[in-house]
């Protein structure tokens, strides 16, 4: 691996720069408690996940799709016999998630500060632009990034497009993120570099049952470890 070629480092946002998955897990738990009168919690959680997956190609990622899926799941779970008040609560839950304060991942500020002196940094996320912009501004990390790249899904095709758009070659691109499925595997497949920094919680949809072993790949436990080799 020749790290000296790297010109642009793209950072995933959710659970790489700031905590995110934790809020979704918490919301799912609250949802299952709200619906407990209709269905056992674990079963409700599975049903919600199934509805999210069914809606994913149409809705995409983010809090607004999640809120719509919560409402749809609640209607299904209650067999169409739901108090309106509960739906209002789910809408409020979604709004509250959009306003959640930003909690930075340990050591990320210092790491970005150092890296931004040597590389062009971009934020690459498949979330929703307005929401990610808001989090970036709240996070205080905006000053380190050249710009935000929003992709509708993190596939090989989308990464190729991103790299073309950045006007660099695959060998000059490094992706850093918490998801093997989204931030690592498609990036390695197109000949670019990918570093993995796992977050303690991974969404079932992002899980892969795969060991990665590749010359362009490294795994770290903390963001600040990037500074030892970059």
């Amino acid at each position: 691996m020749s790290l000296s070629q790297i010109k642009v480092i793209a950072f995933d946002a959710d659970d790489t720069l700031w905590v995110n998955e934790t809020f979704f897990r918490k919301a799912e738990e609250e949802f299952c408690i709200l619906l407990e009168a209709y269905m056992p919690k674990e079963e409700a959680n599975t049903l919600l996940f199934d509805i999210e997956m069914k809606n994913l190609p149409l809705y995409g990622y983010g809090i607004k799709p999640f809120t719509l899926s919560l409402i749809e799941a609640a209607i299904t779970i209650s067999k169409g016999n739901l108090e309106t008040e509960l739906i209002q609560k789910l809408i409020e839950k979604g709004k509250q998630m959009l306003l959640e304060p930003v909690e930075l991942i340990d050591g990320i500020d210092r790491t970005l500060n150092e890296l931004s002196k040597k590389y062009r940094l971009v934020m690459a996320t498949k979330g929703d632009l307005l929401d990610q912009e808001r989090k970036l501004i709240k996070s205080g990390l905006e000053k380190y990034f050249h710009h935000i790249e929003i992709v509708s899904d993190k596939t090989e095709k989308q990464y190729r497009k991103l790299i073309r758009h950045l006007d660099i070659t695959e060998q000059e691109f490094l992706m850093v993120g918490n998801s093997l499925k989204s931030d690592v595997i498609p990036v390695l497949n197109i000949g670019a570099h990918a570093f993995h920094i796992p977050f303690h919680t991974t969404w079932v949809h992002e899980m892969v049952d795969q060991e990665v072993c590749h010359p362009n790949f490294k795994s770290f436990t903390q963001a600040s470890e990037l500074l030892t080799i970059l």
Copy 2:
């Protein structure tokens, strides 16, 4: 106005490349009919618009925010006394809007085809990325565009960022769109060029009570008229 300087032409998407506002107007009408038992149609329409405006800073633009506002408005209109079935209908309505076929604006294909031979064309929209990408692919217009620029709102600040990102000067940028408020006024204010092609329906939120008179501005009735001067 020196059009010879122009390097990049950015096209707004909804109601500039394809019909959009018409679908929202139709959905609003259907919504008011569904809720007629609770509130007169005109009053319900006003209440829905107020809820959309209240939610806009948090939700942003697009069909998913619109669907969430439909549900919230329905709950408010019914005073929390709503059949779950009606909420299911609103969710389905939103999904149906996301799947609506793309209807091109007259003459746009030929116009883009010609312009793409002389200029770098980008699509600049404040809608939601997944939805706009889907429409671009369905439209068959993708081949004419260098890439999509998604902005969270079309303000002077966002246009400056976009122009910096395109690596050109203000004088080299031309925006073409149907909204004076979003596609024309902020663009002229930063010293770039803006052409207006009105669509027959304008969302109340996009209306401005202003006559535009500026050396960098022109108004057209049809897309193909652009070819007479560009």
